[in-house]
Symmetry: D2
C-alpha cells in the first residue's frame, strides 16, 4: 500500500501516517518527491483497509500494490487450469461449444434442440429450468419438473448439461441433474450463492455481471475458489454501455485480458453479448480469434415461438453452418473443434 | 405493439404479419407511410413477445406501446403511496432520514452510532448484519449474532431499524428483528429474494442496481408488489459510469423521473452514490432539493476504524451539522425535517 | 511516478528500471515489499511518460503521483477564482443564472426571450448563432447574420450575452458581439479551438464533454489557462451513461468534486443534463443545493415551435416561477440570487 | 412518426394532435388500442421535430419511424461502397492494413517505421503530424514541418499515407501531402471540420467518437457524404465504458452492425481500442473474424522511446508475426491479405 500525501502535508501529518503503518505491524518507507511525500507500507497489509489511512489529515490518495484476488490470479498459478466436463476439457487446445435453448420449455422442444446441437458438433448442452426474468409476468422456467428433461437429454445425446442455479437452496437438487452449474450475470455478486456452488465442488460456469469490471469478476471467482472448488470457467457475456443498438456490448478485450490475469478458462456468450441472431456468428468467430476457450450459444428449433430470448437464438441449420466457419477460424489460431457428429437416431 | 416494416417489405410479408397479429387474438391496424408500413397490434398483447414478430421476414423493428410494469406505475395509481415505518411515513411532506453505520461491528460501536444519529434528528436507524462484500476475505457481517443488537438499539433509541437481507432463507429470521428489509444494489435482480420479501409483507427498501436503468428498477419493484406487498420504498444509490473520481455517479435525474413514473416513495443514498465523506453533504442537500422523500446516510463514531465503508461515513458531529442544513433546504422546497432530539441519557 | 514490479521480477530487471529512472535525471527510491518491489522516481518527471517504464521487462504497473493539470488545480491556487462578466461575477456568493433560447431563430423570438429572462431575474443571456447539430439536415443557426441580434438584445436588456463558438476562425468575429464564448460539449477536446479562445482573453464557458471525466475537463481548462486566459467557467451538462430515460445523466457529484479540485467557478446546465422540461426545475434546485456557482437554462417563448431543443426549453412563466424557488434554495445554503427585475418596457 | 398518447388522454387532446399533424401537411392515422391511442403521421416529416408534438397535452411519447441518416444507409444504397486508395481498395475481399507510428517524430523514426510496415505487408502508412493531446504540455506533433516527411515516406515505400486533420484551416495543406484524411475520435462531431473534409473530395477515415453511438457515427458520415464526398471509411476505435483495465472497450459488435446498416467500409483500430500492445494481436484477429474491411495499427521502431502512445505500439517484428496470423484468419473467413513484401533497400 502506498500512501500519497497532499502537496502541503505537514511533517507531523507524515509522522502520524508512519505511526499508523507501524501500528498495523508494517514497516513505513518514505519517499520525499519534488512535490509530495509517498509512504510505502511494507508487510502483510491484506487485512488493512485503505480507508484507515484515507481519513488521516494530509493524505491525498492511497494506492493498492497487491491485487485483491489471489487464488484466481496467474501470479498464484502460472499454468492454465483445465476444467474437465464429462469427457471434454475447458482450457486446452480444444474450443468447447455449449449450445441449446435459453429455457427448457417442454419435452419435444428440448430434445429436438439437444439432438440438433449434438449433430452439428456441440460438445455440451445448455437449458435453463430456473429462469431469472426481468418481468414477474414472463415465463419463469419449468422449475423442478424440468430437471428430469435435463437427464433425459443427456442420456439421449451423451452431452453434458449446463443449467442455471438462482438460489443456494436449489444447489443440492440441481447438482443431481446438471453437470455444470451456471451463475447468471445478475447473480455474479450473489455471495451466498457463490459460496453454495463453491461448496458443491461441481463445475461452475460464472458469467460476468453486466456492469462488473474484470477485477470484480475475478473476485467473484475467488469466492468459489476459496471454498476449495477449482472447477470454474469464466464467461464474458457482454457489458452494459451507452450503445443501445445491440442488447449488450461484447467486451472482446476481456478475453485476452482475462487469459493474461488468470489461469481459469474463459468462454464467450455471443448470443447475450449481441442480443440479435444476425450478429451471433461474426462475434462468435471473433471470440475464437481472440483466444476464447469456448462459446455458449442459444439454439432453438423455432426461435419465433421461443418463450425466452427468441430474438437472439439461432435455428439449428444456421448453427451447423456457423460451426463450419468456427472450425476454420479455430485452426487459423492453432486451436481445434471436433467434426460434426454422425447423425444419431433421435430416440424421442 | 407497433410492427415497423422494412422500406422494401413486400405485400405478402405485410400480410403474414397481419395474420400473426390476428392469430394472437389482436386486431391489426395498417398505416402505410411514405417510406414504410407500420402495423399496429390492437388488443391485450402483454403475453405476446416482440421476438414473435421480429423474426418474420420484412420486419425492421417492433416498438412496445405499453409500459412493462403495471402495479408500480403512476398510471395504475395516480396518488402518492405512503409507506409508514413505525411512526414515521415515507412519501408525505416529511423528509425521512435513515442513518447509522454500514455494518454492525460490535455492541458499543452500534449503540454509540444509534444514539448519535437519534440525537442529531434521524428518524430511522440503519445497520447491516449480513454484508455483501466484493472480497471473500473482507468482514462479512456479524450474521445472526448481530440481530439482537438491532433490537437493543431500537429499544434504546425508539428508532425503527433497517437491515439488509441477502438470501430468501434469511427473511423469516430478519423480519423478527428489523422493521424494514433492505435489498442491496447487487441483489436488485435476485428474483427469489424479491419474491421472498414480497411475501413477507414487511416494508422494503429497494436499492437500484448499479447498472439498472429506471425501467428495470420499477420491474424489480413490480416483483415485490405482485406478491401483494405495497410497502416499497425505492432508493437511488448511484450508478456505474465511466467517471471514476467518485465511487458511483449520483443519478440525480432519477429522483424527479421516478416521482413522475411511479407512486412509490423515492429516497437517495448519498454515501454510496459519492463514496467520499466530503461529498455526502452537498449531494444530500441536492437530493432534498430535487424532491427526494428521504435519505439514507452512513454515520460511524470512528470512520477510520470502520470495518466497512469508512471512507464514505460521516462522523456524528458532521452529520448533526448537515441535518441543520438539510432542514433549511427542505423548508425551501416546501418539505420539513423534525428538529434535533433532546439529549437522551445513553443506557449502554 | 511509482513503478510497481511484478511479483517475480528479477534483480537485474529492477536494476534496469533504476538505471532508466536515473537516465531521466531523477532519483530512484526502492521499497521492497512482501510481494513486490516498488521503485519511486523522485524529481521532475512531468516530461517523462509512463510508457517509457511500462515496456521494461518485469514492470507490472506505473502509478502517477502528480496530477496532470497544474494551473487549473486548487493546489496551485487555493483561493476561488472570480470571473467577472459585465457587472455580475461567477464564483462568489451570488448564484448567476444564464438563460435564453438554445438558438437565435429570428428577431422577435430572441428579443422576446431576452426580455422575459431579464424580467424574471436572470443575470445573463444565452443564444446560439452557430449550432452544432447531429444532423446535417437540421437548422444550423443563423450564422453571422444572427450576431447583430446578440448586440441588439444586449442593448435592450442590459444583460451580457453568451454564445457558442465552433471553430478557431469564428473567434475574432464572435468576440465583437458576445461577452462570453461558449465551448460546447462536442468541442471540449477541440484543441485548436481551446487555444484560440485562450488567446482571445475573452471569458469562456467551457462545457464538459459528454464522456469526459473530471480530469479531462480540467485538462481542457488547462489548455485555455496555459494561453494566459484565466477567465474560465466550467459547466457540468450531463454525461452519457447507460440510462436512456433522460437525455443525459446529470453528474451532480461533479459539482462538489470540481469545487474541491479546482479554483475555477462551476455551473450546471440542467436543460441539457436532463433533456426534458419537466425535470429542469428539480435538477436546477439540486445544482444550487450542491454548491453550483450558477446555472445555464434554456428558455423559449414558444417551445413547441423551437427550431432546436424544444423538448427541454422552459416557457417564460415557468422559468420565472422556478427562479422564486431557486432564491429560496440559494438562501438555504448561504448564497443569493438577485430579485426579479422591475418590468422593463420592451423596445421591440 | 408515431405519436403515442397517455392512457388517460382526452378526445380533444387527440384531436389537437391530429390537427397539428395535418397542419404540417401530413395525414393522421389513428389506432385506438386497449390502453392507448397511437396517431401515425403519414407523409414527409423529415423537417418536423418530435418536440413539436411532445409538448402537446396528453402526449406520452413520440417514436420516429424513419432513420435520421439517409445517404449513409444501406436502404439508400444496398451494394457495398468501394473506397479506392492509391491501388488498394477498402470494402472488397482484400483486408487493408494501415500501419505506422502514432506521431511522426523525426525523419529516421518515421522512415524506419514506414519501411518496416511495408516490408511486413501493410498496404498503407499512418503518421500524425497534428496531434490532439489531452495535455497542453505533451508533444503536439511536428506540424507543417512534418508534412514533407509524409511525402518522402510515400515515395520511399510506395504506400499511400493517412494523416489526421484537426481543423478546417489545415485541410487545404494536408490534402497536398496525405492520401487519406483521418478525423480523430475527439473530432467526430466537429461539424465545420466534417464539412471541410467533405468538400475536399479526398478519401476520409472517420473514427467513431469515444462515446458516440452507432447512429451518431452514421450521422457524422452523413455530414461528409452530404457534401458529395463518398469516399468515407468508418473506423471503430473503442468506446468508453466503466471498464478501466483497458484504455477503451472494443465494441466488436459494431463491425457486423455497421456492415448491416451502411454500405460504407468499416475498419478496426485495435491499438486504441485496447491501449496495450499485448492485446493488439488477439483483438486485431477478432476484428478480421468479425468482418472488418481493414485494420489500423500503431507500429513504432522503439515503442519505449515513443513521444505518444508508446504503450500500445507494436515493435516491427511482432507486427510482422501478427500479419502472418491475420492472413490465416482472413482466409478462414473468405477474405485475403497480400503476402509480405520482398525486402526493399531502404534509401534513407
Amino acid at each position: 500500500m502506498m500512501i500519497i500525501m497532499q502537496t502541503d502535508a505537514k511533517t507531523e501529518q507524515i509522522e502520524a501516517v508512519v505511526l499508523r503503518v507501524e501500528y498495523f505491524g508494517m514497516k513505513a518507507h518514505l519517499s520525499k518527491g519534488a512535490e509530495r511525500t509517498v509512504i510505502g507500507a511494507i508487510g502483510d497489509g491484506r487485512a488493512v483497509k485503505q480507508e484507515q489511512f484515507l481519513r488521516l489529515p494530509g493524505v491525498d490518495r492511497v494506492v493498492s500494490i497487491s491485487r485483491p484476488y489471489k487464488l484466481a490470479s496467474r501470479e498464484f498459478r502460472p499454468q492454465d487450469t483445465l476444467v474437465p466436463l464429462d469427457g471434454v476439457t475447458f482450457g486446452g487446445e480444444e474450443v468447447v461449444i455449449i449450445a441449446g435453448p435459453c429455457a427448457v420449455e417442454n419435452r419435444s422442444q428440448f430434445l429436438e434442440a439437444a439432438h440438433a446441437v449434438r449433430e452439428a458438433g456441440a460438445q455440451a448442452l445448455r437449458g435453463g429450468v430456473f429462469k431469472p426474468r426481468t418481468s414477474p409476468y414472463s415465463f419463469q422456467g419449468l422449475g423442478e419438473e424440468g430437471l428430469e428433461l435435463l437427464s433425459e437429454a443427456r442420456e439421449l445425446t451423451g452431452l453434458p448439461v449446463v443449467s442455471e442455479v438462482m438460489s443456494p437452496s436449489q444447489v443440492p437438487l440441481i447438482v443431481q441433474y446438471a453437470d455444470m452449474l451456471q451463475i447468471g450475470a445478475r447473480n455474479m455478486q450473489n455471495y451466498p450463492l457463490l459460496q453454495a456452488v463453491g461448496q458443491s465442488q461441481h463445475p461452475v460456469l460464472l458469467k460476468r455481471g453486466m456492469s462488473a469490471n474484470i477485477g470484480e469478476l475475478l473476485m467473484a471467482a475467488e469466492y468459489i475458489l476459496s471454498q476449495g472448488n477449482r472447477r470454474v470457467v469464466l464467461c464474458e457475456r457482454g457489458i452494459r454501455s451507452f450503445e443501445t443498438t445491440t442488447r449488450n456490448t461484447t467486451d472482446i478485450n476481456a478475453i485476452p485480458v482475462l487469459k493474461s490475469l488468470t489461469h481459469l478458462p474463459v468462454i464467450l456468450d455471443p448470443s447475450h453479448s449481441t442480443g440479435h441472431w444476425e450478429y451471433v456468428a461474426p462475434v462468435a468467430l471473433a471470440g475464437i480469434a481472440a483466444g476464447a476457450d469456448g462459446l455458449i450459444i442459444e439454439v432453438h428449433p423455432n426461435p419465433s415461438e421461443a418463450l425466452s430470448d427468441g430474438g437472439q437464438s439461432l435455428k439449428p441449420a444456421r448453427f451447423a453452418e456457423m460451426l463450419t466457419q468456427m472450425r476454420a477460424v479455430a485452426e487459423a489460431v492453432g486451436r481445434y473443434l471436433p467434426p460434426a457428429a454422425e447423425e444419431l437416431p433421435l430416440k424421442v
